[in-house]
């Protein structure tokens, strides 16, 4: 197990460097990092040169990247356009998005897996067909449309929720945004669980468990579910990174001041430090979540042993 973790950690390094370098290049080479610093007007050449020197932009790109990464690993993500430390922005933004992601993941686990188990066990019945149709529709409607519609119906027409979330963004305010964020993945989790359950239902070990007289409840929870959830756990694990990165749309609709909001502002105002910093952290989250999922396999499936 220890050796496996070390190997996986070593494999993560090139991926981390590659992904951050890619983002760094996109922002710094294709964009103009100092354009946002002079407001809407163009910087005059002397100021531009001074700023470039100040931020080390006159050096070659690889050197800039190394300096930046060196700073990141000492906890210095640079300064945003308004003089705020990027780490300060992160400390206000990440808790909000993490809460939103937790709500979304809970929806995926509770509703997605429940629906998947129910339909997987009743394959071909009306419930199954109905839920499958609904998942297909949910997958087809893009998140921003779902979000706007729910905001219109629940927030404006019926007044069940406040159409926009306050700056505190407490858990109860995030229920509907969390559902919107989770919607597409929720449908995938349902379908994945359903297929997995339906496949494993026919397996030998389930027949054995039934034959030796275990109550149905125990067969499902201890034997069927445990084995069927492995692909689902993978999906949810890889989804954590995608949800946090994809929260940008949901956060814009419900005016949530989380990671997506800060990133969006950063991109609009061409604030490179914020953008690169946040994306770097998001990439890290994605990689760590994947690592954790791989380690979870061993817990879920005793047949898997890491040497």
């Amino acid at each position: 197990m220890g050796r496996y973790v070390v190997r996986r950690l070593l494999q993560m390094i090139p991926v981390f460097i590659g992904a951050t370098l890619l983002i760094f290049l996109m922002v710094n080479v294709m964009g103009d990092p100092i354009a946002g610093l002079c407001g809407d007007r163009q910087c005059d050449p002397a100021t531009a040169a001074q700023l470039e020197k100040e931020f080390g932009l006159d050096k070659p790109v690889w050197q800039q990247y190394l300096t930046y990464m060196g700073n990141v690993f000492t906890g210095d993500f640079g300064t945003a356009f308004n003089g705020q430390e990027v780490t300060e922005l992160m400390s206000t933004a990440f808790p909000v998005t993490i809460r939103l992601t937790i709500v979304a993941i809970l929806f995926e686990i509770v509703i997605g897996i429940t629906l998947g188990v129910v339909t997987g066990l009743r394959r071909g019945r009306p419930v199954d067909t109905g839920v499958l149709l609904v998942t297909l529709v949910v997958i087809s409607v893009p998140t921003f449309v779902t979000g706007l519609l729910l905001q219109l119906l629940l927030g404006v027409e019926w007044g069940w929720i406040k159409p926009s979330v306050s700056t505190d963004a407490t858990f109860d305010e995030l229920i509907v945004p969390g559902l919107v964020l989770a919607s597409v993945s929720l449908a995938y989790v349902t379908r994945l669980t359903r297929t997995s359950i339906a496949e494993n239902k026919r397996s030998d070990y389930v027949r054995t468990a039934v034959a030796k007289g275990l109550p149905q409840r125990r067969v499902i929870t201890r034997h069927l579910l445990r084995n069927s959830l492995i692909p689902v756990v993978t999906f949810i694990g890889t989804d954590i990174g995608a949800l946090m990165g994809g929260a940008i749309v949901t956060e814009r609709i419900f005016n949530i001041h989380g990671v997506g909001y800060q990133l969006y502002q950063g991109i609009l105002r061409q604030n490179t430090q914020t953008v690169v910093g946040f994306v770097t952290v998001l990439v890290l989250v994605f990689l760590v979540a994947n690592l954790l999922v791989d380690l979870l396999y061993a817990v879920l499936d005793p047949r898997i042993r890491y040497a």
Binding site: P14, M30, L136, T143, L148, P231, G245, V283, D294, Y306
Partner: protein, 325 residues
């Protein structure tokens, strides 16, 4: 594409663990209710995978419905004026936010443009972006993935690491960063971005598929007979390995259309005066209370389009997946 939606997340996740087989194709929408052997007389010559799949598809109502929707979409994107007279750019502010009236069944949007005309013309953008992005992704992904799977070794490991890198970047975020610096206001930067971030998904599928096919006896036989690499790849491997790529690409087409709309909604995809459902939905969202129709019609068109392509992909998968036979 990894929007998450990615695209088909289950497939995207395959490469991560290595410790498991995720080949469980997750969407068997229609249970195969195939009866006994129909007309499989001994004298009938064996059907190929493709003609068999086609036979299957023609009987599948899901395929027929989604196929008809897609044909209609292609038709109106080629000749939008056939069903919508007037220009999508002709707007009259005096009529802003007005509801349905004779000659203008969908009403007017916030700028006083006819929602019906704009919705019809928006199909062209979506279909073009979807088709071009899918072609680009499928071509680049299957060539790179196929070569890596066939030759293996160092090139394979390098490619696998590169795909890992692309998977680590959230799609919408990558789009925002990359497209926000582009000033060219056409559909090509959007398509280029989708190809750039989408190919790893296909390349992973193609690689796996080629590795499976490569081990078959007929490939070994061809090798033993002295076939060149290119002949083995083109004549023997490609036709047998392309099915999973087609399935994933069809479903991805739907997600690319949704992604284009999402990026346009965020203001970095297409920009006015381009006509796109994403732009219209974005423009209508501030007036959602007074003129919900301006938001609902393009949203509905978008959802139906994406649905049609996903359903088509599901039907094709059912027809091509030998595991269900």
């Amino acid at each position: 594409m990894p929007e998450q939606p990615d695209d088909d997340g289950a497939i995207a996740a395959t490469g991560m663990g290595g410790a498991m087989d995720l080949a469980t194709s997750e969407g068997e929408t229609l249970e195969k209710t195939r009866g006994g052997p129909e007309g499989a007389g001994p004298q009938e010559k064996p059907r190929s995978l493709w003609s068999d799949a086609w036979r299957d598809l023609r009987r599948n109502p899901v395929f027929i419905i989604s196929g008809l929707i897609i044909l209609f979409l292609v038709f109106i994107s080629l000749w939008p004026s056939a069903i919508a007279s007037g220009s999508p750019l002709k707007c009259d502010l005096a009529k802003a936010q007005q509801g349905s009236q004779p000659g203008h069944p969908f009403g007017f949007n916030g700028q006083g443009c006819d929602v019906y005309t704009r919705t019809v013309y928006g199909a062209r953008t979506s279909v073009t972006v979807g088709v071009c992005a899918t072609l680009g992704v499928a071509l680049l992904g299957s060539v790179l993935g196929g070569l890596a799977g066939f030759f293996g070794g160092a090139s394979d490991s390098v490619l696998s690491r590169i795909t890992d890198i692309f998977f680590a970047i959230p799609v919408v975020l990558g789009g925002l960063v990359l497209l926000s610096v582009v000033t060219n206001n056409s559909i090509w930067p959007v398509i280029g971005f989708m190809v750039l971030l989408g190919w790893p998904q296909i390349s992973r599928i193609a690689r796996g598929s080629v590795i499976t096919v490569k081990q078959n006896d007929f490939v070994q036989a061809a090798r033993a007979l002295g076939a060149s690499n290119s002949r083995m790849l083109l004549r023997h491997i490609a036709p047998n390995a392309v099915a999973p790529v087609i399935v994933v690409a069809t479903i991805a087409l739907g997600t690319y259309i949704a992604l284009e709309a999402t990026l346009s909604y965020l203001g970095v995809g297409l920009k006015p005066p381009s006509v796109s459902w994403g732009i219209d939905i974005s423009a209508a969202s501030p007036y959602i209370r007074n003129a919900p129709h301006a938001l609902l019609w393009p949203s509905g068109a978008l959802a139906i389009t994406v649905l049609a392509f996903i359903m088509l992909g599901d039907a094709v998968r059912d027809a091509l997946d030998p595991k269900l036979r």
